[in-house]
Every structure is written in C-alpha cells, then in structure tokens.
Subunit: 552 residues, 2 copies
C-alpha cells in the first residue's frame, strides 16, 4: 500500500462572519486526541455491516475485549441514523492482537496503552501490549470511520498509526456530594471519557454537604449524612461503577477529603470539633475533624481499610484542602482544642495541630493491609509536611504561569504531581473558553487547551514527576441535569493536551475541525456534547426525547 | 372553611456554610410565579388517584381543556416515582368554569389569563374568563400539591387564590438559525414555559447562519440556506409547533430579521448586496438586503404574505438590528449602492438609505391581507424613523438603569415596548446569576430577578406601553444538547418578574425556596432544570437514560 501524507479534508474553507469558523468546517476521519504518529493513506474503504468482522485472536474470552467488540460493532462504529448498507465483495476484518494476559482488575498505574493500528482497504490490524491499548486503538479506528453524504455509505480512511499517551494520569473529577449523580449519569461520563482516551475517574465521593458513600462497617455515616436514603451509592452501585469503568480502560480513584470538608460525617459521634462564630455561639456547622480524640484515628483506620477493600485502585485520595478555611471557627475558637494544643506544646500554631493530624493519618495509610499511594491536595505540601510517599494534587492558580511555577516547585522537592488547576470546568464562561482568553470573576482558567503542565524550566526528573492532569467539575451548580453538556467537549480539550504530543497540538484553530467532528460523532452515539466554538451544526443532530417521569 | 395566613413551610432553617442556603430549604406547596393574592388554609387534603376527578362543565368538548385535563391528571399533578395510593372516603373534584367560548386559535394579545382558584379539603374550584386563565389556574393547583415523605402520600394545600399576570407579553426567544433546534426540544420548552405561566414563544427563525424555515412559494430559500436538507422545519412542523403552543396557552411570534442578518437568504438571487473588504475584495459574506432592486420588495411582499398565512399571531417581528455592523462592507464599499444613493439624493448618509428600506417595508406590512403589528429591534427607533404602528424591542444596555432609561425614552415617544435586555440568558456566568451580581466580559445581565421594566420615572400612559419581556437564548453556543438546562430555571426568574406583583417579589432569598420546589417539581415531570443557587438536592432527582443513538 502506497502511503501519502494528506492534510485533513475540510468541506469548506470560505471566510465567515465575525472571524468565526465556517459552521461546516470539520475534519473527515480525524482522530481525537491526535495520535503520536498518523499517516493517512490515499484511499478510503466502504464499510458494510455484514462484511465487517472482528478477530480477537487468542483473547476471545477476555471480557474487556468482548465488551469492546460489542460496543463498537453494535453501537459506536456506525452511529448515524441512516440505513446500513450490506453487501460488497470482500470482508473487512479487524484483527486484534494483545500481548499481555487479560487482566482481572482495572488498569494499574502506568499500564501500557500503546498501540499500532494499520487500516488498509482490505483489513484493519491492531497490535497492543495490553487490552487497554487495544481499547484505545479501537476508539481511534472508529474515528477513521465517516459517513459519506454523497455515496450515502460508511467509509473508513486508510492509515498507519503509532500511538501512546503522553501522561499516565488523564482524568475527570466528579463531585457526588454537592449534588448527587446517578449511576446512569456516571456511566455515561465513563463512556464519553473512554471515547476521549481518558483513563482516570477521580470520584470526590463525600464533602461537607452530603455523604452518599455507604460504608458497611459504619452505616451511620450515610444514614445521617446522605441527603436522603435515596441519595446514596450502595456497595453494589460502587462495584458496578468500578466494573463498568474497567471495561472501558478507566481506573476509579476514590477521594475521602480529610480533615476539613467533613461536616457530612456527622453520623459518627465525636468525629468533628464544635465550631463557633465570633460571639462564641455554635452557629457554624462543624466541618473539621477532632484530632484530640484517638478513637477518631482508630475509626479512620477501620474506615479506610474498608475503602481499600471497596476500591482496588493503587491510589487513594485523602483531600487535605482548605483546612485553613475552618481553623478559626472550629479549632482556634474551640477551648478544648486550645487546651489540647497547649498540652502538646503547639502553642498557638494550628499548623502544628494540622501536622499532628496528618502524621497520624500517614501512619494509618502506612499500615493499610492493601497498600495505597496517598494523593493530597496541594495545601498539604504548601502548609504542612507531606508524607514523602504522597502525590500532590494542584488545584490553585489563576494563570497558566502560576500553575507551572507550582509544578516546578513541588517537583523540585521530588513529589509526583497531578494538575487540576488548568481545568476547573465547573467555572463556566460565555464563549469558546477552551480556546479563547475569557475573563470573569471565577479563576481565569479559560484558554485551557493551551495549558501544558510541563511548561516549566526544570530537569527531566522533574518533568517525569508530572503524572498528568484531572479535569474537575465541582458540584455546586452541577447535577444530573447539566453535567454532561457542561463537561463535553470542554474536557476533550484537556484530553488532547494530556494524550497528544505537545508540538503537534499547538493551535486550537487547527484542532477545531477534529473537535467538531468528534462532537458530531459522539452526539450521534447519543451523548450530550454541546457546541463550544460558534454557530455550527452536525450532519446528524442530538435529539431530546419527549419528557418522561423521573425514576430516581 | 376557616382561612389563616401561613408563611411558607421550610423543612429546615439551620445556618449553612459560606452563607449558602441549606440544601434542603424549599417551600411546600409554594406557587411559582407568585400569585397576585394567595391565602393558604390551615389544612391539607390527601389526594388519591382514583378519587380525584375533573369537571369541565359546559366546555367538555374544548380541545384546550381536554389537553389540559389529560396532561395534569395523567402526568403533571402526580409526577413523583412513588406508588400512587388509591382509596380514601371522598371524591376530590376539580370543577372548571370558563366564561368565554373555546377559542379556535391561539391566545390573542391581551387575552385574559385571570383566574380564581379555591382549594378546600373537599374540592377545588377554578373560575376563569378564558381557557387560558383555566390553564394558569390548573398549573397553580399543581403547585399546591406536594408529596409528604412521612405519610408517603400526595397532599394538596388548601388555599384561596386570585391571580392575573402583570404584563401581557411574557416570553422566551429561541434562535433556530445559529444552531438547529428539534421539534421535540422546542415542544419541551413550550411545556416548561406553560409551567412558568409564560405565554409567548418568540421564534427567531432565520439569521445569517442558516435558513431552516421552509417557504412553499420560495423553496430556494431553505434549499440553499439551510445547513442541510435535514435542518429545516417543514410547513407541517411549524403548524405542529403553533398547535402545541396553543394548547398550552402560548402564542408563537415569528421573526424574519431584515435587512441585516440575511446572509442565509442567499438562495434568492439578487436579494443581497455584494460586500467588500478593505482591499475591495469580495471576501466578506453578503449579509444585507439590496435596497436598489425593486424586485426585492415585491418578493418580500409575497414572502411575508405567506408568513402571515403560516403564523396566525397578530404580531410579526421584522428585526432591524445591527444593520450598522454591515453598512461599511456591504453598502459604503459597494459602488452600485453609492451611485444609487447619489441618484436618490442621500449623499453619503446611509441612514437615509436604511430609512428608504424601512419605509418600503412598512408599506408592505400596511398592505398585508392579514393585518399584523410589526415589532422591530431597538435600532429602528434609535437610528431610523419607525412606523408609528411599531412595537420596539429593547435588547441593549449593560445595567438595569441603562435599560430603564431606554424604556422611559421610547415610551415617551408613545411606542409600546418589549424588553429583552434584562434577560439575555445565553450569557452564562458561574454562580447564581439570577440573584447575584456577577461580572464578566459579556454584558452584565446578572441579578436579573431584580430587573423590573417599569422602574423608571414616567406617566401611567408610559408604563402601560410596557407590554412585558422576552428572555432570549441566542443560539451561538446553544443547541439541542444544552438549551433546556441553560434556560431553566434561569428563565423562571424572568417569568416571576413578568407575572407577579413587584411589591411581593422584592427579595430573591425569599423566592428561592419556591424556585427550589419548582425545580424539583419540574425535574420529576421529566425536565432538565439545573441547580441554580448552591448545593441542593431534590427529593426525587432527574435521571438520564443510558445513551441511545440519535434519530435526527
């Protein structure tokens, strides 16, 4: 097969109003996120439903690959509401070869997602080290498929692709405490994540507002702390999310935020300190763990033991953010705490009390039967003395430069980092915020397609400590009704930044036709991917069914 | 029945974090928008499905009332996913008495929506002048119904209510040109509108970007101007929208924006002037009507004749905005236009040419067989000489005060006005923008619950010229995927301002518990009403089904 490099095809290149993109500017068979290397062939191949097949080789019994085959062959490869043609002369077989054994659990940190994909006019060949690589390859293959309006046929572009992710951690953080998120909604986000080659669901399970996580050992936590008995994730629900995520190559990292943001743990007696307003009255809701009470650490040890039995991931997020927001009300103004601090020789220094709490927490993590690597929000680095085993999670910073400076600083102290500060997608603004600078009261994280977490002056060792990024959609103003359209395709911008080579993804205007095609492809797969650039359309639009009553 | 005035019941009144409302602060049987007069009784009545009935009196054959009975009895009165109890001792009959005949068409401008509603423990009585008043009463009745978690029963609060709208025009403007909106999506918005007692759908059908309206006489318009042959509203589609809106007490006012924003009319040869960039090259897309060509006015006369046959509403929106944005490129730099202006004695004054166009357009409107009252965007008042018969539509202004000043100015010249400037809901911001001042690059129309279009120093005659308001959701970044959650409950803030007495709706913090209950009620009816205040929850949440392929 003779291969030639083709630039992406656009259906039109006319100028348009207000400097906007032409509404029908999209790529044809463009891949999102952009692969490390892609060489398109000069020919396309017509695909018909009855002539296409998939061969899983010696991995015919692997559940990950079987689910993949089912999803793509029956739903995602041919998403459009058109009559599916049959016939044609030759079969088109997708041969999938995976080196490693079918894994029993979810992807482990750093697992290979590398793949080779070759699509010719007669066949497609996928070669991967792991099933996760095969999943990524299959998604790429599906991006090469397009519907040709003229011939009214599905076609696939021929191509040779070598691909692997730039960062091992590429995630979405959801917050199920501020607003409850249903299993259906979480699963839909997992599917869209896999279509963007994201591999981490950071599940911020509980926070001040509500405690939807159900502990078997401590049912009083959700019993008192959930919004209602309906607003909980049963143990089966959680297992279902983990299994669903695994089949799509996604790890689930749970977060239990400590010692602040803990008001909803109120079902556990004695766990929280009393908090006081300026007049010394208890009108401020308790929101900080009581570090005086040793029973609290015994409880945490048992609770986290159960958490590790529930969540198989090697990482465990233990929060640590915004403790200072509650210190005055809940520690400084609390007489018992002040007395305890004197006894311990901490004087007035609440940071020493914080460190006391974290040291006890680190000791618990050290002793967990199932070993876990702890992740902490950046304050544990900024204000306290983190356990050297920790990963630091950056969420602060109003400009890309401020964020890069922090990455530089933290990696210089030899801590691995995960960056979320670039991608606080809950902060909405009017306009194409993934691409354009848009000011507002909320931290100015627009233009986030351009945020590149290794853009700092540092050693290779430092840059290797950047594990990746997690786009966060905090739940203050987000629930089942709006999370999906608000996340996508905005999180796709982060997905490309975290997967693709930086040097090939420097211009959002070059990325847009592929993002437009991605949006339309996923819209046709049934997902609520909103417009994110300017007036445009999809060949086949999303539709909303007539209203039906809720079942939740 | 002894009536006592009860303040709304809240399930909790504890302080909460960050000065936020308690997540479970909501009214019980609160009505949105707030009625003119409401006196709650001291008792509630349990409702069971088999004992409730509706009696339409002598209007048993009226399609509007039959659709109402079907919608409320079978869907909206009992929306929650709970087992519906039967039994109880006594029937509960809703008796509906309407004075005027069942109308064959949609509501006319100024039609009565007044009603009396009395709910006792034994029955409900609705008295209204028109079927539209009965529709409003029925929605109010449905707001008195709540689900009692303790007894696990539906109950209705007893009350005596007198109600009527403050303004005759209370609407939503949708834009089906920048992004196509499906029939299902438009119908869903109409249903939610009726649940907010809104009565006008302002349908901005076509704009520069695309022409989805299908003309029978001039099929070349959508043939060339639509995004694709799938992105059109057939004549049947339009009739369906009008009929669907009518059954919910909503008028449909179409807009055909002239003479700017017309690029998508390109299917009509000779309709647009050629436009030129600074170098004199034709790279700027034509976007302004050619006023030199008399055939264009003959065409417009025929086209608008068909429009009046398609849309029964007495009002006809003819745009007129932002002409000046294209004047340099399309008129000043166009040699033929300059010559025409010289011949007409206009010199260099393009405003005279604009007036020439508008005078010809006014003459066409005057001669329409089916008489229509024209609405124009404010520029026709600001820059030109509007027909004295026109309604002026205000869309500019960055602050409430600027907007009030314009209302004052325009009504002082005796023109009726409709205000949209307060409610440009396409401009999104992070936070509770309906209530809080939120700055941003986009015009600062946050805190829009407080925008009251008669808040200016003026005569009663002037204030009576304020017909009402239309919340606009322009389509640049809005389509089927996100319009519903983006509109609601933000547009509900406008709905209350336009319906309820100003003196009783002065504080958003008092309104919130009712808005919260409204959100949860409509969420359970199956609509995508987003959180709009802070962390909260609904007793029964919205859920998203697993993804299914699009059919559009």
């Amino acid at each position: 097969m003779r291969l030639v490099i083709l630039s992406l095809l656009f259906t039109s290149t006319l100028a348009w109003f207000y400097g906007r993109d032409d509404p029908d500017r999209w790529s044809v068979g463009g891949v999102w996120p952009l692969p490390q290397k892609i060489i398109y062939g000069s020919k396309n191949r017509t695909l018909t439903y009855d002539k296409i097949g998939i061969d899983l080789g010696d991995k015919k019994d692997c559940d990950v690959l079987l689910a993949m085959a089912d999803n793509y062959m029956n739903k995602w490869l041919f998403p459009y509401p058109v009559e599916m043609k049959t016939g044609g002369t030759e079969d088109f077989i997708i041969t999938v070869t995976v080196k490693e054994e079918c894994p029993g659990g979810p992807p482990v940190h750093g697992a290979s997602e590398e793949y080779l994909l070759r699509v010719s006019v007669s066949e497609a060949v996928i070669n991967a080290q792991t099933v996760w690589g095969a999943l990524r390859a299959m998604e790429t293959l599906s991006h090469l498929v397009f519907y040709d309006q003229k011939s009214q046929e599905y076609q696939i572009r021929t191509a040779e692709i070598f691909d692997k992710p730039r960062f091992p951690v590429r995630g979405i953080m959801i917050d199920s405490s501020r607003h409850f998120l249903s299993l259906n909604v979480i699963k839909r986000q997992l599917e869209i994540m896999s279509m963007n080659k994201l591999n981490v669901l950071h599940w911020h399970l509980v926070d001040s507002e509500s405690f939807p996580y159900t502990s078997q050992k401590f049912p009083e936590l959700h019993g008192v702390g959930a919004y209602s008995p309906r607003h909980v994730y049963s143990r089966e629900d959680i297992a279902e999310v983990i299994a669903f995520a695994r089949l799509r190559g996604i790890r689930v990292i749970p977060e239990f935020d400590l010692p602040g943001h803990t008001s909803s743990w109120k079902g556990r007696k004695g766990f929280l300190t009393e908090c006081f307003d300026e007049k010394g009255e208890e009108t401020f809701l308790p929101n900080l763990v009581d570090p005086m009470n040793d029973a609290n650490f015994d409880f945490l040890a048992e609770f986290l033991e159960e958490v590790t039995e529930t969540f198989p991931d090697q990482f465990l997020h233990l929060g640590g953010d915004e403790v200072s927001d509650y210190i005055v009300e809940c520690w400084v103004r609390n007489k018992k705490i002040r007395k305890f601090m004197e006894e311990k020789g901490f004087g007035n220094d609440t940071v020493l009390l914080e460190n006391y709490f974290f040291e006890k927490l680190f000791a618990i993590v050290e002793k967990l039967k199932l070993k876990r690597k702890p992740i902490f929000w950046q304050e544990v680095f900024d204000n306290n003395i983190p356990d050297p085993n920790s990963i630091i999670h950056i969420w602060k910073g109003n400009t890309h430069e401020e964020i890069y400076e922090q990455v530089k600083n933290i990696t210089s102290k030899n801590f691995p980092v995960i960056v979320s500060a670039c991608w606080y997608l809950n902060y909405i603004k009017y306009g194409a915020d993934w691409r354009d600078e848009i000011r507002g009261t909320a931290p100015s994280n627009s233009r986030y397609y351009y945020c590149d977490p290794t853009s700092f002056n540092g050693t290779d060792t430092q840059k290797n400590l950047v594990l990746g990024g997690i786009a966060a959609i905090w739940g203050e103003l987000v629930d089942n009704t709006n999370i999906e359209a608000r996340l996508w395709p905005r999180a796709s911008a982060a997905a490309e930044r975290l997967w693709s080579p930086a040097e090939k993804t420097q211009r959002a205007e070059d990325a847009w036709p592929r993002m437009h095609e991605l949006r339309c492809r996923l819209v046709s797969r049934g997902y609520r991917i909103q417009p994110n650039n300017n007036p445009d359309y999809c060949p086949f639009e999303f539709d909303e069914p007539p209203a039906i009553k809720s079942e939740l």
